[in-house]
Amino acid sequence: MPFLLENRQIVTPGDLLAEGDYLSGNNTHRDDSKIYASRLGLVEYKGRRVQVVALNTFYVPAVGDLVVGKIVEANLHGWTVDINSPYTATLKASEALNRPFRPQRDELSEFLDVGDLVLAKVIAYDRTRDPTLTIREPDLGKITNGQIVSVSPAKIPRIIGRKGSMITLLKKETRCSITVGQNGLVAIRGRNQGDEQLAVLAIQKIEQEAHTSGLTDRVSEMIRTERGSVG
């Protein structure tokens, strides 16, 4: 039996996507030989695999993900971090310091205090345990300057683009360094406010129009005209 729907058509939860010998991909569920959509999104058929690219999701942690988090509490042995997810993360002191941690001497709020933003990596998570983070790797750690844009985590793949095409374009055209957290928070650092503002606008446009085609061209055009009007 052939595919039931057109590629990249919008589907709603419960829609029948395929019947027969197919693999159930992201955001789909299977009932015997039938594959249904589990989220509102765009259906994609890739060979035998059927998947739905969701239009809105929330962030579910995965080991190895880069995330932008906000410190909500400094405890005796570590920090509690909000990573824009149903589960709050913890950052242990031993994963933050470059030397052995001495609980009697070290005051943790001197390193990271409530409200600080950090770029971190998820090192452990499963359904029984809250995620734990590390910042003991190059380029990770406290975010001291720049801007943060919040987008729906569903749109993150679109901001990165196929093989990083979109993010490369953004970095080149806006002359900013852009770090994409998988949890929907994007850190932008540029040489001046104008560049940063341009990057923010471009990312917001991508989020709005993520499900349309020909987006890369439209974004690059938008950046050029915006830059022209600013001067």
Binding site: I10, T12, P13, G14, D15, L16, N27, H29, D31, Y36, S38, R39, L40, A54, L55, N56, T57, F58, V60, P86, Y87, T88, R127, T128, S152, A154, Q208, E209, H211, T212, G214, L215, R218
Partner: protein
């Protein structure tokens, strides 16, 4: 005692001019509250209802969290100005029951086991009531859940049918609900063809019940078609805009 009003005229028309198997005019909107993770609004005849979904998020108070699955919490509430006589804003016995009934109608549609130790909080606020609010509540709650990006087996569409003046009718309004002979609210998961909610108030023969059930199932399927349109509409509008800008 006032006399019972005529609900179905000799021509077979109802108090609001509908035929027996006709739904009230239905308007559905998705994603209208920016603070909520997902939201929806319905106008069904004179009914006006809002639904908002938050989550999955951490459970407060903590001890309510379930180790195996997410907790679905539902609050159905009628605004004090939603009915002719001011309704006390405190949750009544009826509202507590409807909250539970709506929650149980939605639970089978959501993949709760995917997000253990979290809660999904659902708020249904009736702004103006004209009968059939539990059904309208289920209908938009499932839209708000889909809008929030919560994985679901199916949408849930809901509609009532019943009997007034001896006639079997679809989608009862307030007068038909109060003065009529029977009211059967029904919620359906259309793709799996599973009934998620079925209640009955009043008296029907077994034969009549089968017919009423068929009426309500048919109504649910018509509502389901509009639910799908409403969910897609939010994104199709942006798509068209973008494609127009492309052509310029």
């Amino acid at each position: 005692m006032t006399e019972k009003p005529t609900l179905v005229s000799e021509k077979g028309l109802r108090t609001d001019g509908r035929k027996a198997n006709e739904l009230r005019p239905l308007k559905l909107e998705v994603g209208i509250l920016s603070n909520a993770d997902g939201s929806a609004y319905i106008e069904q005849g004179k009914n006006k209802i809002l639904a908002a979904v938050y989550g999955p998020r951490e459970v407060h108070p903590r001890h309510l969290a379930l180790p195996e699955r997410a907790l679905l919490r539902c609050r159905y509430h009628m605004a004090p100005f939603s009915v002719q006589e001011r309704k006390s804003p405190a949750p009544s016995r009826r509202e507590v029951e409807l909250s539970k009934v709506i929650r149980q109608a939605l639970e089978p549609a959501i993949f709760l086991d995917k997000f253990p130790r979290t809660s999904i909080d659902l708020f249904i606020e009736v702004l103006q009531a004209d009968g059939g609010t539990r059904c309208a509540g289920v209908t938009i709650a499932s839209l708000a859940l889909a809008d929030a990006g919560i994985p679901m087996r199916d949408l849930v569409a809901s509609c009532a049918a019943g009997k007034a003046d001896g006639q079997l009718i679809l989608d009862l309004n307030d007068a038909e609900d109060k003065e009529g002979e029977a009211d059967v609210p029904l919620a359906l998961m259309p793709n799996s063809n599973a009934v998620a909610l079925l209640q009955m108030d009043g008296l029907l023969t077994i034969g009549e019940f089968d017919q009423v059930m068929q009426l309500a199932l048919d109504g649910c399927k018509r509502i389901y078609a509009q639910q799908k349109e409403a969910l897609k509409a939010k994104y199709l509008a942006i798509k068209e805009e973008a494609e127009e800008a492309e052509e310029e």
